[in-house]
Symmetry: C2
Subunit: 355 residues, 2 copies
Amino acid sequence: MAKQVKIKDIAKMAGVSPGTVDRILHNRGNVSQASRTAVERALAETGYRYNIHTSAVSLKKSYKIVIAIPTAVKGEYWGSVLSGIEHALEEYSDITIKCEYAFYNQFDIFSCRNSFDSILDMEPSAVIIGATFVSETILLCSRLDSLGIPYAFIDSVIEGTSPAVTYSSDQNACGRIVGRLLDLFTGKDAGIAVFGSRRIGNERANNSMGRMSGMLQYFGSIGNGREIRESKISVADPEESEKDIIRFLDSNPDVGGIAVLNSRGYIVADTLASHGITGIRIISFDLTVNNMRCIQNGTISAIICQRPELQGFHAVKAIIRTLLYNLKEKNEHHIMPTDIIIKENLPQYREIYNE
Amino acid sequence: MAKQVKIKDIAKMAGVSPGTVDRILHNRGNVSQASRTAVERALAETGYRYNIHTSAVSLKKSYKIVIAIPTAVKGEYWGSVLSGIEHALEEYSDITIKCEYAFYNQFDIFSCRNSFDSILDMEPSAVIIGATFVSETILLCSRLDSLGIPYAFIDSVIEGTSPAVTYSSDQNACGRIVGRLLDLFTGKDAGIAVFGSRRIGNERANNSMGRMSGMLQYFGSIGNGREIRESKISVADPEESEKDIIRFLDSNPDVGGIAVLNSRGYIVADTLASHGITGIRIISFDLTVNNMRCIQNGTISAIICQRPELQGFHAVKAIIRTLLYNLKEKNEHHIMPTDIIIKENLPQYREIYNE
DNA sequence: TCAGTTTTCGTGTACGTCCACAAAAGTAGG
DNA sequence: CCTACTTTTGTGGACGTACACGAAAACTGA
């Protein structure tokens, strides 16, 4: 509880007026080098920090944050992200922050381009990006960079950009978690299957690949000679995927555990259930409504979840802090924890993730 | 982003002066019934809310929060709680909040009495209580109630009190989680052992009992005829506990999984390791340094953790909100999620829980 | 050196609330 | 109806920062 150092104090120490200190704090320019160094030393010595409250009181400017993420469906991944974003905005309801959305279809590159093109017209103070398409994102970021508009990444990292902050999760670790859990869940002689996405080229699939390598890495490292069999399931066509699954299991009868490296675990679970196949442990990703249902009825053993809610929440808070304090904290990268969810702790997480 | 309604607006609507509105908002009394009803209607109509910033700016009063919890050791349970508390206080560094601590020895009822007796002398604005001894806590709370001092519970609930807010976790669910995990981790024919605390009468032990009933409930519900064998381990005497453990396993050779319902899982793990016993899955509670070590080296399969950090964090934030907004949100009870931690997601959680 | 120009600096007001103090209204007793 | 007292109400200054505006200083070129 050190006593608050005020702008006046800094001004006195540096032998200038409060106005000059203010100019330096806000990079408003028109300050001589002499004053600047004097003030900056005083600032550093005292460890001055804005009083956020008085600052907010007199702040004239109102910020506009643009949220550029894939279309958010309640109960799905990006829906949770969005609910975290809205939650964070509520916390700052006492300062004027406008918020606009630039949703895009994560499976349609043209929709992404359209959406990203419109962002600059919105004149944002900051942008929060849930990236899917690499080169489109890089283009957007370089434009933002040249305008000095800070941006934050949620869920994924795009190389060749300089976000103020990134919130994502460690997909490789996710894969290793799945590996260990399946290893623990199944007998030594059971085979392990991995179902990935058929679709490639978008970010979710990249996530899926990171998970895959993590999982293979796990089974490689323990060296107990487990057979890992890969397969793809089609996202587009439910009937086709059902046939795929049954065909796969027919030709691999020893499989005791299945990892579904995207959020479609419920498709596999439902298929097994409808064919009366039991005794196979399934692990999948994301707390979607369908996956929750399967956790409830026991057809999915565990769900791996990466806190989309918190990612959105923290990204907004961080970007607002960047704006308020005029920070240049470049490329701060936060890895969200990976939650393991089973039937028994589902209710508690449900409260956090949804609503 | 509705336009801010100001005190002046309310005053105009109710036909009184801003001072009168302020008096009503802060229960400062000396207001006629007529003004009160007029103002309260205007308040309700507009849905007026403080502007927290300007409020904080002009607030003369400084709050003092007293933290009454068991002695916090860094890296242990209450140490994490404390670090969450300190973290929350940092977020409010712009308003003057003093903080005093009233630590007590959770195994010594006299130390608790001494500590609790000293709290009122500190003239707290609010108290945060980590309760261990029931009747002492009830006494403290009734005194606080009569003085109108709000208090929050962390970690446990004491019946017969009216806290402003409670942050705890669902011990029964924890027990069921342990049950399911051990069930998944071990073959059908393996026996399951439960190690509880020998010590009783304090809250941790109560937690331990809640976990026990949850675990038995799980195995009762699935009805696969698992043998559950209970034992106690002595906390006080390491050598004695080591002997206990070996003796127990000698007479129960079929045991394939052990649940340690307190934070002492590392004792069991170390004992097995030093006797060259492998193949037994151990699950324990709390991310202490010793337990983390055992997760790392593979002797403990999973740790159940109840976010002590977050409990402390949220309790402080909630109690400060109560003070700032003068709220009377009685008995709001938040259940923290229960995290399942294995070797692969340990690093991510470590970042959250410690530091 | 001096007028004109640009850069740098200081002053003063506004923000919405809290709260102290003074003013006004109400009450009771004579 | 007046005084003494209590209750109720209005007013104005303070909080620390942001920012506009105008003053002062520094620089420019002749």
